[in-house]
C-alpha cells in the first residue's frame, strides 16, 4: 500500500492491528503485519500499534483542524429482549439538552441501534426526539455479544464521525463503551452526572463523582474524537415521548462478524428482584436495628410506602440481610425519590451510594450521627418507637382521619 508502511524490525506480529483494522485490510505474513490493498489509510492500525511499527507517511495523530470533521451527538441505544433500556430516554434527554447549547452551528442527535430485529425500536427513538437513527438490523447479533457490538459500533462511529458519543452507565454500557473508546483510542469519562457544552470551545464538559462521591471532577477530551461518556442511570431527566415524531433512518450495512462468546442463558435472579437501582422509594436499615429479626420494622415501613429494602454494610456483614441489599461504595448506588435511613450512622462509604437521592430522611437516636449532615429531614429518636409511629400516622392520614 502506498503511504503506509510496516517497520518489519519493530513489528512483533502481535496482531493488534489486525483486530483494529475496520476494513480487514491487514494480514499476518511470516509473523509480521502485512497491509493489503483493502487499506484506506484510516490510521486505526497506526494508533493501535504499541510498538509504533506502522507508519503512514506524513501521518500525525489527528491535527486540530481535523477535529471539526466530527459533528453531532450519538447515543448508543442499548436494548434487551426487544425493549430499549430505561437509561436510553435519559441519555437522549441529555443529548437534546446539549444540542441546544451549540451556538456555532446546529447539531444532530443520532441514535446508534445495532441488533437483530430491532427495527421496531426506531419509532420509539424518534418519539424521544432523536433526529437520526443509525440502524444496523441484521441477523446474528446477540444483544450480549459485546465483542461484535463493539466492532460494529466502531465501524459506524469511524464512518459517521460524531463528535460526542454517549452510552448508559449500565453494566453493558460500562463494558461496551470502554471497549469502543480503546479501539478508537479516545477518552471516555465514566458514569457522568452532568454534561454541558463549553460556550467558548464547544467542548463537552463531563462532570462525574469520583472517590465515592467525595469529590466531583470535570473532564475534557480535547484532542481526540469522539468525546465519549457513560451517563449515570436515573440522574438525567428523560426525554419526553411523543409518538408520531419522525426522523431520518441511516441504514448501515456491515458484515456481521462471529462472536467469541456463546451466550447460554439469561437467568432472572429473584434475589435481585429487589432492584434498588430502579426503586423510587427505599427504606434502609443499619446496625442500629440490633438484631436480624428487627428488619421486620424496615420491611413493614417499606411495604407501606411501596418501597424497597436497603441496608448498610454493617447490617449485611452481620448477616442480617443479603448483600444485594447493600447500599454504598461496595454496594449499590441508588437514586430514589425518597431514601429513609434507619439506624444508619452515615459513614462516607454509605453516603456515596445514596447521596444522589432526591430526598433523604434519617432516623437515628444519635443527633450527632453524620447521616444528619446530608439528610434533608430527620428524626432524632429510637427507631423502634419512631418507625411504628410513622407507619401508624401514614396509614391514618390515608384513611382521612387526620394525624392524631
Amino acid at each position: 500500500m502506498e503511504g503506509i508502511k510496516v517497520i518489519i524490525e519493530t513489528c512483533t506480529g502481535c496482531g493488534l492491528c489486525l483486530r483494529a483494522c475496520p476494513y480487514q485490510a491487514i494480514e499476518l505474513r511470516e509473523k509480521k503485519a502485512w497491509i493489503t490493498d483493502k487499506c484506506i489509510l484510516c490510521g486505526a492500525c497506526v494508533e493501535v500499534c504499541p510498538w509504533k511499527a506502522i507508519v503512514i507517511a506524513g501521518w500525525k495523530p489527528l491535527p486540530k483542524e481535523d477535529l471539526s470533521r466530527y459533528r453531532g451527538i450519538c447515543v448508543v441505544a442499548e436494548h434487551r429482549f426487544g425493549k430499549l433500556s430505561p437509561v436510553v430516554p435519559e441519555i437522549v434527554g441529555a443529548a437534546l439538552a446539549l444540542k441546544g447549547q451549540f451556538k456555532s452551528a446546529p447539531r444532530f442527535v443520532s441514535a446508534l441501534l445495532i441488533g437483530t430485529g430491532v427495527k421496531t425500536l426506531v419509532e420509539d427513538l424518534f418519539a424521544y426526539g432523536v433526529d437520526e437513527v443509525w440502524l444496523l438490523d441484521k441477523s446474528g447479533i446477540d444483544p450480549f455479544a459485546e465483542d461484535i457490538l463493539a466492532e460494529l459500533a466502531v465501524r459506524a462511529i469511524r464512518e459517521r464521525k460524531p463528535e460526542i458519543v454517549l452510552g448508559g452507565g449500565t453494566v453493558m454500557g460500562r463494558s461496551l463503551l470502554p471497549r469502543i473508546a480503546a479501539k478508537l483510542r479516545t477518552g471516555l469519562t465514566a458514569d457522568c452526572t452532568e454534561l454541558t457544552i463549553d460556550p467558548e470551545t464547544e467542548l463537552l464538559r463531563q462532570t462525574r463523582p469520583a472517590f465515592g462521591g467525595n469529590i466531583m471532577a470535570t473532564i475534557l477530551c480535547e484532542s481526540s474524537r469522539p468525546q465519549m461518556a457513560t451517563v449515570r442511570h436515573k440522574v438525567m431527566k428523560p426525554a419526553s415521548k411523543e409518538m408520531g415524531r419522525t426522523g431520518r433512518i441511516v441504514e448501515l450495512d456491515y458484515k456481521v462478524p462471529k462472536s467469541d462468546f456463546e451466550i447460554l442463558e439469561f437467568v432472572e435472579d429473584t434475589s435481585q428482584k429487589i432492584d434498588l437501582t430502579e426503586a423510587d422509594f427505599i427504606v434502609s436499615g443499619g446496625r442500629g436495628l440490633g438484631d436480624p429479626k428487627n428488619f421486620s420494622y424496615i420491611e413493614e415501613l417499606a411495604r407501606v410506602i411501596g418501597g424497597t429494602v436497603g441496608a448498610s454494610r454493617a447490617a449485611v456483614d452481620a448477616g442480617w440481610i443479603p448483600y444485594p441489599h447493600q447500599v454504598g461504595q461496595t454496594g449499590k448506588t441508588v437514586n430514589p425519590k425518597i431514601y429513609i435511613a434507619c439506624g444508619i450512622s452515615g459513614a462516607v462509604q454509605h453516603q456515596v451510594g445514596m447521596k444522589g437521592s432526591d430526598v433523604i430522611i434519617a432516623i437515628n437516636k444519635d443527633p450527632n450521627a453524620p447521616i444528619f449532615t446530608i439528610a434533608h429531614y430527620g428524626i432524632v429518636g429510637d427507631l423502634f418507637q419512631v418507625i411504628p409511629e410513622l407507619i401508624r400516622q401514614i396509614r391514618s392520614r390515608e384513611s382521612g382521619e387526620g394525624a392524631s
Binding site: D191, G306, G381, I394
Partner: protein, 279 residues
C-alpha cells in the same frame, strides 16, 4: 495458546491486576494538574481486587499453574504487591516510572497491556470491577481491547474451564448471564464471587522475602506518547467538593410529635409520604 491435555489439568497462567488506593476518602487534589495526591494517605489494596486475587488463587488450586500479581503506580505499590503475595500469589511485578504519572484509563490500560504481553501470555487475567478511587471500571475492558482478547465484566462465578473455553456467570441488572468464552480472557469480578482468605503464616514469610520485579517505561518499549499524561486523552480541568446540604430539618422530642411534624413538613414541601400498599 496452549492446549489442555485431554481430561487432565490445564496449567493456568493467571495474572491479577491490583490497584493501590487510599484507605480513606479524605483526598487531596493537586491544584496544578488536577490529579490526586496520594502522598501521606494510608494505602490499601482496592477491595474488589482482593476478590480477583482470591479467584486467581482458586483457579491455580483447581487447574494448577501460577498467579502473577501486577500493580502500576508509585514505588509504594510494592507494599500492596507484598500483601497480595501473603494471600497466596506466586510472584509480583511492579510497573513504576515517573513517566506513567497522570495516566487516565486509556494510558493505564496501554501500560498494563504492554506489561501483560511481555510477561505473558496469560490464560486468565483478573481485575476488580472498579477501583474505589476513580470508580471508573474502564481499565479492565480497555486493557483487554489493547491485548486483543475478549473480556467479561462483573463476573460473579466461574463455573469451570474445559479445554480452551471458560463458563461464567455475569451479573446484569435483574439477573445474570451464563456464557462461555474462549481463553485467553480478561475478567472483572464482583464481591459475590468468593470470600477472600486471610494471609497465611507461610505467605507472610514469603511476602517479606520474595523479590519483586520492577518494570520501567523502557522495559515496556511503549512510546512516550501513549503513556502518562501525554497518552491520556482526558484531562481533568476542575475538581471540587460537591456542595453538601448543611443538614436539613431535624425533629426531636416525642416520637408522635416528631413524626407529625415530619409528615406535615414533607407534605408542605410537596413530597408526601403516602401509603402505597393498601393497609
Amino acid at each position: 495458546m496452549r492446549e489442555a491435555p485431554p481430561g487432565g489439568k490445564l496449567p493456568m497462567k493467571v495474572a491479577v491486576c491490583i490497584k493501590q488506593v487510599p484507605g480513606t476518602t479524605e483526598v487531596q487534589v493537586n491544584p496544578d494538574t488536577g490529579t490526586l495526591m496520594r502522598e501521606g494517605v494510608e494505602a490499601i489494596i482496592n477491595p474488589f481486587d482482593l476478590y480477583a486475587l482470591e479467584e486467581g488463587i482458586r483457579l491455580k488450586e483447581k487447574y494448577g499453574g501460577a498467579v502473577t500479581v501486577l500493580s502500576m503506580g508509585p514505588p509504594q505499590v510494592e507494599s500492596a504487591i507484598r500483601e497480595a503475595i501473603s494471600y497466596g500469589a506466586d510472584e509480583g511485578v511492579m510497573i513504576s516510572d515517573r513517566s506513567f504519572a497522570g495516566s487516565d484509563t486509556l494510558a493505564t490500560a496501554s501500560t498494563l497491556a504492554a506489561t501483560l504481553r511481555i510477561l505473558g501470555p496469560f490464560d486468565v487475567i483478573l481485575m476488580g470491577r472498579q477501583a474505589i478511587d476513580g470508580d471508573t471500571g474502564q481499565v479492565g475492558p480497555e486493557t483487554a481491547e489493547h491485548l486483543g482478547i475478549p473480556h467479561v465484566t462483573e463476573v460473579k462465578m466461574i463455573e469451570g474451564i474445559e479445554g480452551n473455553r471458560i463458563t461464567l456467570h455475569r451479573m446484569l441488572e435483574h439477573g445474570y448471564l451464563r456464557l462461555r468464552a474462549p481463553l485467553p480472557i480478561l475478567l472483572t469480578v464482583v464481591k459475590e464471587i468468593n470470600t477472600p482468605r486471610p494471609a497465611s503464616f507461610k505467605g507472610k514469610l514469603r511476602a517479606r522475602q520474595v523479590p519483586i520485579k520492577i518494570l520501567r517505561a523502557q522495559d515496556l518499549e511503549l512510546s512516550p506518547e501513549i503513556v502518562g499524561l501525554s497518552g491520556s486523552p482526558t484531562r481533568v480541568v476542575r475538581v471540587f467538593t460537591p456542595p453538601r446540604p448543611t443538614g436539613g430539618k431535624v425533629f426531636t422530642g416525642e416520637p408522635k410529635e416528631a413524626v407529625e411534624n415530619l409528615l406535615r413538613t414533607l407534605e408542605e414541601a410537596g413530597i408526601p409520604l403516602k401509603c402505597r400498599n393498601g393497609s
